[in-house]
């Protein structure tokens, strides 16, 4: 649901950065970015919070240098970041009672076997369940709470889309 909103936002960011180049600097070898048709271009994931989304991440392991480690989502997990770059919707659920590796194992098992989940990681330090859905897949808050309960735990709060990159 965020894609329609963020593609224009990304376009606006891109246009702003290109606009910093004076029109007088344009040569015959350059293309006027504002006149390009972006509708058929792959600008990466709409869930990335900034211009970084314009890169192709499919074969890249993101590093801490490019991400805010204080973000809600566990940016140090390559599988999570790769799945987001591939276009999946990120979800971070703050989970009550997640105090040990058995808790993490329970949620990893429950969500890891679901066909609509591309990546899952339980962060005990942040007490969060990190999920990335497969592109086009959806999971309601109610369903998410139900699956966490099935694992034996309880959801406190849920963040989705670009909000997972907030601190």
């Amino acid at each position: 649901m965020f894609r329609p909103l963020f593609i224009p936002a990304l376009l606006a960011i891109s246009a702003t950065s290109f606009a910093q180049v004076s029109p007088t600097e344009t040569t015959t070898d350059q293309v006027d970015h504002s006149k390009m048709d972006h509708s058929k271009m792959d600008h990466g994931s709409a869930y990335m919070p900034d211009d970084h989304a314009n890169h192709d991440h499919t074969d890249v392991t993101p590093t801490m240098d490019t991400r805010d480690e204080n973000a809600l989502i566990s940016v140090d997990q390559p599988e999570i970041m790769r799945a987001i770059a591939a276009g999946g919707e990120p979800i971070v659920a703050t989970v009550l009672g997640a105090v040990c590796d058995f808790c993490a194992k329970a949620m990893n098992k429950t969500f890891g076997k679901r066909k609509d989940v591309a990546a899952v990681y339980v962060d005990l330090d942040k007490k969060t369940l990190n999920l990335v859905l497969k592109p086009g897949a959806e999971m309601s808050d109610d369903d998410l709470r139900k699956y966490v309960k099935k694992s034996g735990y309880k959801v406190d709060a849920i963040a989705r889309g670009p909000a997972v990159f907030a601190r």
Binding site: G97, A106, T110, K150, S151
Partner: protein, 213 residues
């Protein structure tokens, strides 16, 4: 003799009781082994939901020379959640066949066991209490209780080695040494939990193992 030794080896290899987290996530299996100063117990169970588990319990009481084999049900009656803690209340019961494997075997008979366990833990502190009783008819009728306190010297993140230093005090009114004190080292790694300790009052080892799959 050979039969007894074989049973003992199987029990030692597969052992378990209902100690830490005796109910898994829905669809999960757990293998539990507990060896303390009195007995060695093995339990393999399946959890159809996060509130129940059903499995097979085998227990070798080394002091009384008894072996118990039977199905066990465990119920997570209540789990309390908080941002930094979790607490649980469990009840369990088992019924099965008790076999006397002493030098003068008295045969087989039916027996029942039941118990409860409650715990509270954060990533640095652990408290638990458990109690159980058994009725093996003419073979044995007894009860026990144990309390444990634990401390983690550091907070391990997901997938890292988690280390706990614990102290358990158990009370077995019918035993030669009613009160037992056991310092324990608990190691958590991924799906496996291992505990090693030494009962300083009864001079006996404690070896517990759990694996989730």
């Amino acid at each position: 003799m050979l039969r007894t030794a074989l049973i003992a080896v199987i029990l030692l290899a597969f052992n378990a009781e209902a100690s830490a987290r005796p109910v898994s996530y829905a669809g999960g299996w757990t293998l539990i082994e507990d060896t303390d100063r009195q007995s060695t117990t093995a339990l393999i169970h399946y959890s159809p939901s996060a509130s129940y588990s059903f499995g097979l319990r085998t227990e070798w009481d080394r002091g009384a020379d008894l072996i118990f084999v039977g199905p066990q049900a465990t119920w997570l009656a209540k789990r309390w959640f908080g941002p930094d803690h979790q607490a649980n209340l469990y009840f369990w019961g088992a019924a099965g066949l008790v076999t006397d494997i002493g030098l003068n075997p008295r045969g087989d008979r039916s027996g029942v066991q039941a118990g409860m366990m409650t715990d509270w833990e954060t990533r640095r502190l652990f408290l638990s209490y458990r109690a159980s009783a058994r009725d093996f008819g003419k073979f044995d009728q007894s009860a026990m209780q144990a309390a444990r306190v634990g401390f983690a010297p550091y907070e391990g993140d997901t997938g890292e080695l988690h280390t706990w230093l614990m102290l358990e005090v158990d009370h077995r009114p019918d035993g030669d040494t009613p009160i037992g004190v056991t310092p324990i080292l608990r190691l958590f790694y991924g799906s496996a939990l291992f505990e090693a300790g030494w009962n300083v009052t009864d001079d006996a080892p404690l070896l517990n193992f759990q694996y989730r799959f």
